[in-house]
């Protein structure tokens, strides 16, 4: 009897030991190539998604992150960085991945709600405690003696939002006078002593290196600086008008199909729109899309008069070509600050 029992037990153990790996749960990795300031957001989000996915499918998912200036990140993906998903600062950078490398279809933006932007942000000013240079609005950035920190639009998506926000303000102020707008933005960039490659680098310049009187910043970066990086040392100044920044997310089709990760990559982005995903975005100072979460965090985000790239510049393709392409307006107006 004992021998029989032992034999059955041994058979069961042997049978279990050769179970197909799929029965025990797969292990999947994804690479999320993102722009510079989203480190904290995706650190929290990735943990939440991994728990959700494990509970739903039994599979373990590890999301590796890559961060850098949005333009630089797009170029890296075009050059072969195997991103399963891209979560970049602006739609133009994802368009570039679609057009130059053919890694995803050109109509990628229609595949997820809200033009594939699960959260939004805007551009504000970060100043030192007490606002010693009395920065109130965009005009103050162009004044002599004010040192402005903003990253390089050639590499940073946030920098391009900053630049267009300033230009858009000037067009409103001077009744769409492009020459005046150029003069105004030129004056601002004359006050820029150093151009970091990404938004996070600019935050480091301002917060940790102590350079500049005002940092033109993603709203979420400004909140991060005020509440965490330099608690009690900085204040946020909301300009009279700013730009609606819609950082998009997209699955990189050719990569996920080759790696067999389409299902989990798609779910990873869709979960950003879920209540938990939106809560995480809001906690990290990104403006959520979901009305219930937006209402809950309404107090956190100041009301700002916002315009869009489409309204003022006719879209990113036109804006990129006119301002940020080689030989564009930015190349003509930027001089290192003295």
């Amino acid at each position: 009897m004992l021998v029989k029992t032992l034999k059955s037990l041994l058979t069961a153990v042997l049978a279990l030991s050769i179970l197909p790996a799929s029965w025990a749960g797969r292990s999947v990795t994804l690479l999320n190539v993102s722009y510079d300031p989203t480190r904290e957001l995706y650190k929290e989000y990735n943990g939440a998604f991994a728990k959700y996915w494990k509970a739903k499918t039994g599979d373990d998912v590890t999301v590796n992150q890559s961060h850098g200036g949005s333009g630089s990140q797009a170029r890296a993906v075009i050059d072969g960085l195997d991103a399963d998903v891209v979560t970049l600062a602006l739609a133009y950078d994802v368009d570039a991945v679609a057009e130059k490398a053919g890694l995803l279809p050109k109509d990628w933006q229609k595949r997820l709600p809200d033009n594939s932007s699960p959260y939004t942000s805007t551009i504000v000013f970060l100043v030192r405690k007490g606002n010693p240079k009395n920065i109130r609005d965009w005009d103050d950035l162009a004044k002599p003696g004010v040192s402005v920190v903003t990253p390089n639009p050639k590499t940073s998506g946030g920098a391009r939002w900053n630049y267009l926000a300033a230009w858009g303000y000037a067009l409103r102020k001077w009744n769409k006078d492009e020459a005046k707008a150029r003069e105004f933005v030129t004056a601002i960039y004359k006050n820029v002593p150093v151009l970091d490659s990404g938004a996070r680098g600019a935050t480091v310049t301002f917060v940790e290196r102590g350079i500049g009187d005002v940092a033109v910043s993603w709203e979420n970066e400004a909140f991060l600086a005020v509440n965490q990086l330099g608690k009690g040392q900085f204040e946020i100044v909301v300009p009279s008008v700013s730009i609606l920044a819609e950082p998009p997310v997209a699955v990189v089709d050719k990569v996920v199909d080759r790696r067999g990760t389409r299902k989990v990559a798609q779910a990873y982005l869709e979960y950003l729109y879920s209540e938990e995903g939106q809560e995480i975005a809001a906690r990290n100072y990104y403006r959520p899309r979901l009305p219930s979460v937006a209402a809950k965090y309404a107090v956190q985000f100041p009301k700002v008069d916002l315009f869009t790239v489409e309204e003022v510049f006719g879209g990113w393709q036109k804006a990129q070509k006119a301002h940020f392409a080689d030989g564009g307006l930015f190349d003509k107006i930027y001089l290192p600050g003295k």
């Binding site: 890296a76 072969g80 002593p193 150093v194 490659s197 680098g201």
Partner: protein
Amino acid sequence: MNRRTLLAIAGAILLGAGIIRRASAGDVNASPADVQQRLEALELKTKVLERRWEVDQENAAAKSKESSTPSIGKDGYSLKSADGRFQIKFQGDIQADGRFYLNDKAEAFTDTFLLRRVRPTVEVTAYGIFDGRIQPNFGGGAAGVDDAYAELRFFPFAKLRAGRFKAPVGLENLQSSSKITFVERGLPAGLLPAYDQGVQLHGDLWGGAATYALAVQNGALDGTNTDSTDNNDRKDFAARVFLTPFKASASDLLNDLGFGVGAAVGKDRGTTNASTTRLPSYKTEGQNAFFTYKTNIIAWGERRRVSPQLKWYPGPVGLLAEYVLSSQEVKSTTTVSAANLRNRAWQVAVTYVLTGERASYNGVKPRKPFDPKQNTWGALELAVRYSQLDVDRNAFPRFADPAKSSRAARAWTGGLNWYLNPVVKTSVDYAYTWFDRGATTGDRVAERAVFSRIQFSF
């Protein structure tokens, strides 16, 4: 701009500010508040300069990650992409040889200088797992191709190669021609296929402790390369397994011990045209033929080879040994004679690196390259080999003329190699080969050959 320069400039600014302040009569009575303001402005300037330097360093680092990395050295010239997934490598070898025959009063053999091999080589890697290799050979005054293949490296244990490459059978044959110990390979090479076109699946198992290869190729004759296309539908199948079971061992004595077996099977049918009998001739190390079939004999049927093999390199001593059995069904086109002839060859080669470096299947790397100014002289290696090739006795006299073809060749070869550095090697060998029959009056005249080589291989 480096950090030291930056701080020097900042220091000069501060010092200059101090000097100007003292020299200016109007500032003699500047208030402390003015001074404080100036100091703060200079401090900010320094911070900005430092930060610009940091950003420049970050940008330079980012740029270096995007840019390709050229490299030139003993392994040739290569260009590699920042992520390592794309690479092109230029290598090559030149072998300038001399062949001289002693006691050759009848001038049966010709003393000559020759370019034995001139092989520029290009290797490319694309997307990290696709490789290509092109190795033309302009040696001997002719233009040909040795290696030319594409390889898909799906996994270390499964790589698919297609193109022209060495048949995976013999041990010394598979050794690169720039790495072989002696100037010429031993007699067993005469029974083995060389470069051939086909497809091969091969890989490393258990961390390289075992390697295998399975190939389908057009079918090369003993000791020869194939032409660019096959002249029949029959293909040769080759397989080889080689084990180095102690590869991971810490013991220097055993970690370079390897043994295995290679085999090939195919079918061939010749015609009476002299160039298409599909039968080989066998040559000495001096490349002089000592065995040929009669002109009316053709290959007709199965061809098999099997070759157990061993290599062992414990420290400065090296041992390479292999045995080859090559059988070929033949027939006469003028009589009913047919047979399955079995020819055999074997060799044992022993080497010793006098300067103490480790002997190796892939050549000797001198610890101290040749540099008389530094009193370093490279590495010196002594080598001795015995090899033998026996033709099936049944070949005589129906299929080969005993007055013209020898039944056996035996050779003692002694060699001295001087590795000046990993790129340049000089060699001198003496090979004494004697024969069983092969002349109208008995044994063919022994061949006493001196080979020299200056090799440039990078």
